[in-house]
Every structure is written in C-alpha cells, then in structure tokens.
C-alpha cells in the first residue's frame, strides 16, 4: 500500500525546504528543484530546558 503523500514525492516536481547547509540548497536549485533555504540556528541558544519550555508554549 502506497500512500498519496509518498507518491506526491515522486509524482510531482520537488519543492524542498532545506534546513541547514546552504550548499545543499544551491545544488538542489542547480538541478531545477524549487527550494526555500532556512538559515537554522539552535533554538534557545542550545539550552535544552528552554527548548522544551518553548515547545510547550508554541
């Protein structure tokens, strides 16, 4: 059984949200994919307690 979400991955052109390395986004674009680059930063300065708290609040 194949779900339509997975089929949607190979049945239509890739639209990618690239979280992290910018070179990945650059190379995806070079190959014709549509890409939104996310310049990710560690949430709450990497403080795990604060991350957990924010996850609950948001």
């Amino acid at each position: 059984m194949v779900n339509e979400n997975q089929e949607g991955l190979i049945d239509r052109p890739l639209v990618v949200i690239n979280v992290g390395l910018k070179d990945f986004a650059k190379n995806l674009e070079l190959q014709g994919a549509e890409v939104v680059q996310v310049d990710w930063v560690p949430p709450a300065g990497g403080d795990q307690e604060m991350i957990d708290l924010l996850d609950k609040l948001l």
Binding site: V19, K22, A33
Partner: protein, 521 residues
C-alpha cells in the same frame, strides 16, 4: 605543557549570537590557517563537545566557558604574538567576505520556511544531530517527507520518526542518509545521472552513488534512488524505510526493477523483507555486502549480487542496456600493469593500506579481499578479530574508513574536507613495509569541488618519501562519478594519472587489481 607548546601564542575570539553552518566554518578555518606563521586554527560553534575538543589542544578560558551553541568560537595558535593578533583581527573581515558569497535567508525556522512554501513535499535537514529529531518530527507533522543527512540520532528517536512516517504515509530518509535521487534531482551526496527505469534503495550513500554512476556510465538510467539511513536494516528499526521505498518503487510506473545495496539485514528484518516483497511483480536485485556465501538461502525473492559492479551489471542486463558487459568485464585485464607495479617494489614492501572517504568502499574492498583469502585489518572490520587496536596506527594489510566518527569528530566528512585523509596518506607512506595505497575519489553534488587537487600534494609527497628509501609506492584509486558531475571527472582522472596513480572506474575493480598485486608478490 611541553616546551614547544609553551612557546605558542594563543588567541581566542568569541562572536556572540553568530551561528554558521559547518561548511561555512570550514571555509573560514581554511582562510585563517593559510596566514603565514599560523600553526593551528579552530573555527567552531561553542557547543559543549567543541569546547572539550578545544580544551584537548590547550585552548580554554572564561570567554570559551560562557560560549553557547549559538556563539562562534575562533582559536589561533602561532609562534608569534603579532601573527596571532593579526589573524584574530582579520576574522570579521573574513566572515563578512565569506557571508557575501551566500546571502542570508530570511527564514530562520522550519515553520517560516513552510509558510513560504506550504506546498513543499520534502524537508532536508543537515543540522546538528542533537536537534534534528525534533525538527524532523515537526516536518512530518506538517505533512512533509523528510531527508535527514545529520547523524547522531538515537535508535529510539529514529524508530519514533519512522513510525510517524509510516502512520502518515511519509518517507523518512535517514537519519545518517547520505544520498537520494528523486525525480532526477540528487539530494545530499549524489551524482548527475540520466533518468531511466532502474530504481535503487539503500542505507549507504556511497553504495547508492557507486550503483547509480555505474548505471549511468554504462548507458542506463535511474528512476529514483532512495536512501534509507544507515540503521534502517537493523532489527531495532525493522527496515521501515527500506520497505516503504521498495513499495513506492513497485507502484511507480517509471521503475522496471529495483536494486537494494546494503549490508545484510538483521534476521527479523530480513524475514519482514521476504514476507512483504515476495508477491511483488518487479525484479529485485540484492547486493548485501559482507554476506557470507554460506548464508545466501534466506534472501528470496532477491537475485543476489556479490559486488556493486555485479548489481549494476545485473540491473543493466535486466533493463536491456547494452553496456552491461563493460561493467562486468575485467578480472583478466591489467596483468601488465600489475607486473610493472610489483617489479618496482623493494624487498621490504609488502602491505596494502586503503584510506577511504566512502565507508561502503572500505567494506566492499574488505569483502573482496576476504573472499580471496587475504586478511585485512580495519577500524570497521568485516571479520571480528581484525579490528585495529589503535585506529590511528595501521598493521599489516589495513583498510580505514576515514568517515568513521573517530576521525570526523568536530570535523567535516572526508568527502568534503580531505585534511585528515592527507595526514593518514603521509603516515602510511612513512611505513617502510607499505607497497600499495588504495584510495577512492567520490565526485558529485556537495562533494569537494576538487577532490583530487585536495590530495595531490600528499600523493606526490608520499611517492617522494618512498623513492628516498628506494622502491616505488603503488597508488591505486577508484573514481565514483559521471561526466555531467560538477567536478569535471575527466580532468580529475587526468590529474591522477599524471601523478602516476593507477585509476579504475569502480571500487571493486580497483580492489581486484590490488588483490592481483598482492598475489604476484
């Protein structure tokens, strides 16, 4: 502290709330370390792990203690206070000039990205492993398939993500997924290959790269190649992504046959693969590296291939591509080359040392040599009992996977940063008993832009070290890539040949050649 260390001048700079990705940091590090007189530089984010690495090289202080994962930490060591100060003072200019080459995005969170493209069908993650499971979970909740390049995610979290994917009908490629090619678009470390009817699935990035490039180079094409992450075929994960990927390709009208390139699945996972694929209509080829020929019974409905070369040859034949023979041909060729190489060795030269960027190549080479009766030590051994006691010191025949976390802690993968491989090549060349160096060069998107150039100095130096002692160091290399790859593969091969390197179009063929050399000695 030794006398030499005590004469060092250390400079430290911390830039609060300036976060950069690892490739950017490598660029800055390379730039700073090129300044005349600099002995060592470190350019890292202020994570606890990085702070420990800095402390190991004697760099510590209150400003480092208070740095966080969001703060840039730069350390410079030189023998002159002026040099150190000058390099530290040049930091902000270097950051500015490098940042100008890749403009900042206004999206800083997954949510912001998704708001820009709510029709996104894939989220790709290459962020530190500590954070990636949470972020990937959010992407799945939002209905996106995910590709997780990051490693260092626990098996529990991986299973959790893959179960969410299963429930929602979404594909979870990774964690530790190096390569996928979907709809002709390569994600992560992938090569430029033509589209076609051959589908591929596998946990190993380099395994998929070797398979897809061989198919392309022989005239065939790839429908989709789906990476699963390195742990997928363990019983802890149960092959959830492998099964989902095979089902997807079975249902895909553009795919005629499916090849799985992997280490052998664990027992329960193998049984699940068998149960769930036996009624499928498309041919299934399985290349399960490291498999003992005695245990081939349980692998129905897979047609088994011993090497990636064999798997690509079988796939090409099944797809009706004429180039298949070329992939399968070999073993008898190169006899003259072998004879000439061995004739150049001195009496003391006897051992093979493989220094690999691709973990799968290290593994496949061990399998080929094991099957030829040649014992090989490794940091990642195929046979228990042949693990190196000390991962930095080779013994007898040794093959090293330089992508192992022992060598990459706080550093980039050797497919991007050749520095650690260069050091190891020189260390092997200094061993008087070494006769052969076996290397792999991997091209494609997101790999180093000049993989051969990055190692050229150390290859020439290695040859020179050997010549001084008398004798000749035989350097054997395989290349994994295609002509349309960004690196200009033909030029890269030409550079290797000019340096006297014997170049082969696959890891299996390069290894078979090494085997012949050792048998001739």
């Amino acid at each position: 502290m030794s006398e030499s260390e005590s004469s060092m001048h250390a400079g430290i700079a911390v830039r609060k709330n300036q976060y950069y990705d690892s490739v950017f940091l490598m660029g800055i590090n390379n730039h700073l370390s090129e300044a005349p007189g600099v002995e060592q530089t470190a350019v890292v984010m202020g994570t606890d792990a990085n702070k420990r690495l800095l402390a190991d090289i004697g760099i510590a202080g209150p400003e480092i203690d208070s740095a966080t994962a969001n703060d840039l930490v730069v350390a410079v060591l030189s023998r002159s206070g002026n040099v150190t100060e000058g390099v530290i003072n040049s930091l902000d200019e270097a950051l500015k000039s490098m940042a100008a080459k890749s403009p900042a995005s206004d999206a800083r969170t997954l949510r912001a990205g998704f708001e820009q493209r709510p029709d996104a069908n894939l989220a790709v993650f290459s962020i530190p492993g500590d954070y990636v499971a949470d972020e990937a979970g959010k992407a799945l909740e939002a209905g996106m398939n995910v590709f997780i390049f990051s490693s260092n995610v626990s098996l529990e979290r991986e299973l959790e993500l893959k179960q969410i994917g299963q429930d929602k009908g979404l594909l979870v490629m990774g964690p530790d997924c190096g390569t996928s090619i979907l709809n002709g678009v390569g994600i992560g470390f992938a090569n430029a290959v033509r589209r076609g009817t051959i589908g591929a699935v596998g946990p190993s990035g380099t395994g998929l790269q070797e398979f897809t490039t061989q198919v392309h180079n022989a005239g065939g094409g790839i429908s989709h190649a789906i990476g699963t992450g390195s742990n997928d075929l363990s019983d802890a994960i149960g092959g959830l992504t492998t099964l989902a990927a095979i089902r997807l390709l079975e249902a895909d009208p553009d795919t005629e046959l499916i090849a799985v390139i992997a280490k052998p699945p664990e027992a329960e996972t193998l049984a699940a693969l068998h149960a769930q694929t036996k009624a499928f209509s498309k041919p299934l080829i399985g290349c399960f590296l490291g498999l003992n020929q005695s245990s081939v019974g349980g692998f129905n409905p897979f047609q088994l291939a011993r090497t990636i070369d064999e798997a690509s040859g079988m796939a090409l034949t099944a797809a009706g591509i004429a180039g298949a023979k070329e992939v399968l041909q070999d073993r008898e060729s190169g006899q003259d080359l072998a004879k000439a190489a061995v004739a150049g060795w001195s009496d003391e030269q006897r051992y093979l040392r493989g220094i690999f960027a691709g973990g799968t190549f290290c593994y496949q080479s061990q399998q080929i040599l094991r099957d030829a009766g040649i014992d090989v030590y490794s940091n990642s051994p195929i046979q228990p009992g042949l693990k190196l006691d000390h991962l930095d010191i080779s013994r007898q025949h040794t093959l090293v996977d330089m992508g192992d976390e022992h060598y990459t802690l706080g550093k980039l993968h050797p497919m991007i940063d050749a520095a650690e491989r260069a050091k190891r090549i020189l260390a092997e060349a200094a061993d008087p008993e070494v006769a052969i160096l076996l290397l792999d060069f991997i091209f494609g998107y997101n790999a180093a832009s000049d993989p051969v150039g990055d190692l050229m100095d150390s290859l020439q130096e290695a040859k020179a070290i050997r010549s001084k002692r008398g004798g000749d160091l035989t350097i054997v290399a395989s290349v994994c890539g295609t002509k349309p790859d960004p690196q200009d593969m033909d030029l890269q091969i030409e550079m290797l040949k000019e340096c006297g390197v014997l170049v082969f179009p696959s890891n299996a063929r390069a290894t078979a050649f090494c085997q012949r050399l050792l048998e001739r000695r």
